[in-house]
C-alpha cells in the first residue's frame, strides 16, 4: 500500500475512533439537560409571565417532553445528527445558527493563540535548555513559573488597565470598530489590532506550559544514548541540538498541544468575556447570565466537536514526526 493510502486509512481510523467519544458527549449533554431544574416549557412559561397548567401540559406534549426518557434521548440524538441543537427562546433563534455565527471569531482567537504559544514556547524552551542555569535560563524559567500561576482573567484586566486605559495602545474590547465601516485590508488591520490583547492574554498560560515542557524534554533527550553516538560521530553541537535532540524533544510538546486544546477553549470563555470578543466564549457568558441552558449546551457540544477535529489534525501531524507510530 502506498504511503498516501496508508495515511488516509489512518485518518479514517482515527475518525471512526472519535465517534464513540462524540456519542458519549451527546449523551452527557442530554443528561445534563435532564438534571437541570425545570424544562423548556417552564422557561417559556416564565418568559410569558403566566401560563395555565393546561397550556403547559399541551406544550409539553408538543415538544415530546411527556415521553419516557429513553425516547427523548433517541429524539435528541436524532436531532443532533441533523445538527438541530434546539431553540434559544432568549435570542429567538435556533441554537445551531447562533453558535455557528460565533464560531469564526473563536477559531481566529484559538489559531492565533496556539501558534503564538506553541511557537514561542518551543523557542523559549530551547533557549532555556541550551543555556542551562545561566541568566537566560533563569529569566525564562521565572517568567514561565509566574505566568503559569496567574489567572487569565486577571492578566486580561491588568492589560486593559495598562495598555488600553493608561497607554491607549490597544482597544479595550470587541473584535472590530464597527462604526468605522472598514473594508478589505483596513478591516483586517483593525481586527488584528483588536486581536492582540486577547491573544496575548490567552496564550500566556500556555506559553508558560510549553516552555517548561520543551525545556524539560530537551534536557531529557540530551541525556540519551543517541546523543553520545552523535558526539562520537564528530558532529557539531549545533547539529546535535537542532537535528538530533530537537525533533525528539518536540514529540511530547506536540502531544501536549493536542491535549490542551480542550482547556484552551475553556480559557477562551474567560478571555472573550473580559475583552467582549464576540465568539463562543462570550456567547456562553451571555447564556450564563440569561440562564439559557439550551444555548450553553449547544456551545458545549460544538466546542467538544472542535476539540475532536483539532486533535485529529494534531495526531496526523504527530504521525509525520514520529515514524514509530503505525499508520498502517
Amino acid at each position: 500500500m502506498s504511503q498516501a493510502a496508508q495515511r488516509s486509512r489512518y485518518v479514517l481510523k482515527r475518525l471512526l475512533q472519535a465517534i464513540p467519544v462524540v456519542v458519549a458527549i451527546v449523551v452527557v449533554n442530554f443528561f445534563l439537560l435532564q438534571l437541570a431544574e425545570g424544562d423548556a416549557v417552564d422557561v417559556l412559561a416564565g418568559e410569558a409571565g403566566s401560563a395555565t397548567p393546561e397550556y403547559m401540559a399541551q406544550l409539553r406534549q408538543k415538544f415530546g417532553l411527556d415521553q419516557p426518557l429513553i425516547v427523548q434521548l433517541g429524539v435528541y440524538m436524532k436531532n443532533m445528527l441533523t445538527f438541530d441543537l434546539g431553540y434559544s427562546f432568549r435570542h429567538d433563534m435556533p441554537v445551531a445558527q447562533l453558535v455557528l455565527d460565533r464560531l469564526m471569531p473563536t477559531l481566529l482567537l484559538m489559531v492565533s493563540t496556539i501558534t503564538l504559544a506553541v511557537g514561542f514556547g518551543i523557542v523559549l524552551g530551547l533557549i532555556a535548555a541550551s543555556n542551562l542555569n545561566n541568566w537566560k535560563d533563569n529569566v525564562i524559567s521565572v517568567f514561565a513559573l509566574v505566568s503559569y500561576a496567574t489567572p487569565l482573567f486577571w492578566v486580561g484586566l491588568m492589560m486593559i488597565v495598562v495598555f488600553s486605559l493608561k497607554l491607549r495602545w490597544f482597544p479595550t474590547s470587541g473584535m472590530e470598530n464597527v462604526a468605522m465601516f472598514y473594508e478589505g485590508w483596513d478591516r483586517i488591520k483593525d481586527i488584528a489590532h483588536h486581536l492582540v490583547m486577547p491573544t496575548l492574554t490567552l496564550s500566556l498560560f500556555y506559553l508558560a506550559l510549553y516552555t517548561r515542557l520543551m525545556r524539560a524534554s530537551m534536557l531529557e533527550q540530551a541525556s540519551m544514548d543517541y546523543v553520545t553516538t552523535a558526539r562520537a560521530k564528530g558532529l557539531t553541537e549545533r547539529r546535535i541540538v537542532f537535528v538530533h535532540i530537537l525533533r525528539n524533544a518536540l514529540l511530547p510538546v506536540v502531544t501536549m498541544a493536542g491535549v490542551q486544546v480542550g482547556s484552551l477553549i475553556g480559557g477562551s470563555v474567560i478571555v472573550e468575556s473580559v475583552f467582549a470578543w464576540p465568539g463562543l466564549g462570550m456567547l456562553a457568558f451571555e447564556a450564563l447570565f440569561s440562564r439559557d441552558l439550551n444555548l450553553l449546551l449547544g456551545i458545549f457540544l460544538l466546542s467538544a466537536l472542535l476539540v475532536v477535529a483539532i486533535n485529529l489534525v494534531v495526531d496526523l501531524l504527530y504521525s509525520f514526526l514520529d515514524p514509530r507510530i503505525e499508520v498502517g
Binding site: 458527549i25 513559573l145 489567572p151 484552551l264 475553556g266 468575556s273
Partner: protein, 276 residues
C-alpha cells in the same frame, strides 16, 4: 530525614513553602484580623489603598478589600484541598483497578478519560455549577469531576508497570490476595507521583475556582478572590485596586503551591534530579 534535607536544598521550594505558610496563617487568623463579615459595608466606597483605614482600599459599596482577601484565602484553600481530595480518591481508586486488572475495566476507564480529555473541562465545570445552582458544594463537585481523570491515568500507568514487576509476581506466587497486593505492595510504591500530582492539582483547583467565581458562579454567600475581581471589573477605570490585589493573592498562592509541588517532586524522585 533525608527527604527533608533534599527538599531544603531546593531554594525556590523553600520560598514557596514560606509564602504558602503565610497564606495559611492569614486564612487561619482571618476571623481575628477582620472579625466583621467581609460583605459588610464598613466605610467610604472607592477609597484608594492606604486611605480611610483601608490597607488595600475599598470597593464600589465600601467593603474592605483586605478583609475580603483574608476571608477569601480560606475559601480558596478549602475548595482547593477538598476538590483535590475528592478527585485524588476517585482517581486512585479507578486508576488502580484499571491498571491492575486491565481488561474491560481498563477499556471503559480509558474511553472515559479520553472523553474527559476531549470535552473542554472548564465549560463542563461551568455547566455543572450552572445546572446545580452555585454553592460551595457544586463548585467542589465540578472541580473534582473535571480533575479526577488526570489522576486516574497517572495511577493506571503506575499500576500497569508495577503489576509486571518481579516483586509483585513474587507476591502472587506466595498466594497473596489481589486486594492486599494493590494496597500493601503497589500503592506505597506509587505514592510519590500521586503526592506530587495532588499538590499541583490544588493549585489548578484554586485557579478554576477563581475563574468560576469571576464569572459569577461562586457561592453567593461566601466571599472569594475571583468574586472580588469579578465585582471590581466594572470600576476598572476608576478603582484599579479592587481587581489588582486579589489577583496578586491568587498568583502568589498558586505560585507557592507549584513551587512546593516541584520541590516535592525533586525530593521524592532524586534520580530525576541528578540527570539534569
Amino acid at each position: 530525614m533525608a527527604f527533608w534535607r533534599r527538599f531544603c536544598r531546593n531554594r525556590s521550594a523553600l520560598i514557596g513553602l514560606v509564602i504558602l505558610g503565610f497564606v495559611i496563617l492569614i486564612a487561619a487568623s482571618a476571623g481575628l484580623l477582620f472579625p466583621e463579615d467581609p460583605f459588610k459595608l464598613v466605610g467610604r466606597a472607592m477609597s484608594p489603598p492606604g486611605e480611610n483605614g483601608f490597607l488595600f482600599g475599598s470597593d464600589t459599596l465600601g467593603r474592605d478589600v483586605a478583609a475580603g482577601m483574608a476571608h477569601g484565602a480560606r475559601v480558596s484553600l478549602l475548595i482547593g484541598l477538598l476538590a483535590t481530595s475528592v478527585a485524588v480518591t476517585l482517581g486512585v481508586l479507578l486508576g488502580a483497578l484499571a491498571g491492575y486488572f486491565g481488561g474491560w475495566i481498563d477499556d471503559v476507564l480509558m474511553r472515559l478519560t479520553e472523553m474527559f480529555q476531549t470535552i473542554p473541562s472548564f465549560i463542563f465545570a461551568i455547566l455543572i455549577v450552572a445546572i446545580m445552582k452555585p454553592s460551595i458544594n457544586s463548585v467542589i463537585l465540578a472541580i473534582a469531576v473535571v480533575s479526577w481523570p488526570a489522576v486516574a491515568r497517572l495511577v493506571r500507568g503506575e499500576f500497569m508497570s508495577m503489576r509486571n514487576r518481579e516483586f509483585v509476581q513474587a507476591c502472587h506466587i506466595i498466594g497473596m490476595s489481589d486486594w492486599r497486593i494493590m494496597v500493601r505492595e503497589i500503592l506505597p510504591n506509587c505514592l510519590s507521583p500521586i503526592i506530587v500530582t495532588g499538590s499541583l492539582m490544588v493549585a489548578t483547583a484554586i485557579l478554576i475556582e477563581s475563574g468560576l467565581a469571576f464569572l459569577g458562579l461562586g457561592d453567593p454567600n461566601i466571599i472569594s478572590w475571583g468574586f472580588q475581581i469579578g465585582a471590581g471589573r466594572t470600576v476598572l477605570r476608576s478603582a484599579w485596586w479592587v481587581c489588582t490585589f486579589p489577583g496578586i493573592a491568587i498568583m502568589l498562592t498558586v505560585l507557592a503551591i507549584n513551587l512546593v509541588g516541584e520541590g516535592l517532586n525533586d525530593a521524592l524522585n532524586p534520580r530525576l534530579r541528578e540527570r539534569t
